[in-house]
């Protein structure tokens, strides 16, 4: 689906948190996972800036690991603050999607 970027902007951070929450992972893998999910427009640069923000806000634990090729990779895992933030994201999402659905169904 095209032109999802604007709508995705606010929720992408939550999506990345969810992906990191299920297992420790790195930038490239996160981007691939989002692409496979159907968010074809998401590029690594975007995911990377989100990861930097999560790191700065103290929501993730970062480990540098050597990779087979090239420089070492940064692996990300959620810490307690990150898990709390993820729970908040889903609560907000439930609220938002229920309201929008209600609107679509004619305000019932």
């Amino acid at each position: 689906m095209d032109d999802l970027t604007e709508m995705l902007k606010g929720t992408l951070e939550g999506c990345v948190l969810e992906i990191i929450g299920s297992e420790e992972t790195y930038g490239y893998a996160i981007t691939r996972q989002l692409n496979e999910l159907g968010f074809a427009d998401v590029i690594e640069g975007t995911v990377y800036t989100i990861l930097l923000r999560l790191e700065r806000n103290g929501l993730v634990q970062v480990t540098k690991r050597p990779s087979g090729v090239g420089p070492p990779r940064k692996f990300y895992a959620l810490n307690d603050a990150g898990r709390e933030e993820l729970a908040k994201f889903w609560a907000k999402w439930r609220y938002l999607s229920s309201r929008i659905n209600r609107l679509k169904e004619g305000g019932r």
Binding site: I43, T46, T49, L52, R56, S67, G70
Partner: protein, 118 residues
């Protein structure tokens, strides 16, 4: 950074040399993207540009890892390198020249207003 480095900027020269060597190792299209990143990040620099070093280091790190993954630079950065740089600099808490000008302007206006009022 010790006092000597702070005064002479020798640490900056060293950092830039190290960046240069790493950039040399990148493919052509990546090098081009790097030049654009540097150009777009420049306005976020403080007086010496020292605050940009960690930002540039992380951007270069991303490029290096992406080359190793065999991705094209377009897959990694898309068309909006400026937007990427804004997010990068914003994420690192860098302040721009514009922010400082704006603050200065606000201060001057406030001072003039208070003089009028007094």
């Amino acid at each position: 950074m010790n006092f000597w480095e702070k005064v002479t900027g020798s640490d900056l020269t060293r950092d830039w040399k190290a960046f240069g060597a790493r950039v040399e190792a990148l493919p052509d299209d990546y090098r081009e993207a790097w030049d654009q990143i540097v150009a777009h990040l420049f306005p976020y620099g403080d007086f010496t540009g020292r605050n940009l070093t960690p930002i540039l280091d992380s951007a270069l790190g991303l490029l290096e890892v992406s080359v190793a993954d065999g991705q094209s630079v377009h897959e990694v950065l898309g068309d909006d390198i400026q937007g990427f740089c804004t997010a990068l600099a914003g994420g690192a808490g860098a302040r721009t020249h514009r922010d400082r000008w704006r603050e200065q302007l606000n201060r001057n206006v406030a001072r003039k207003l208070s003089r009028l009022g007094g």
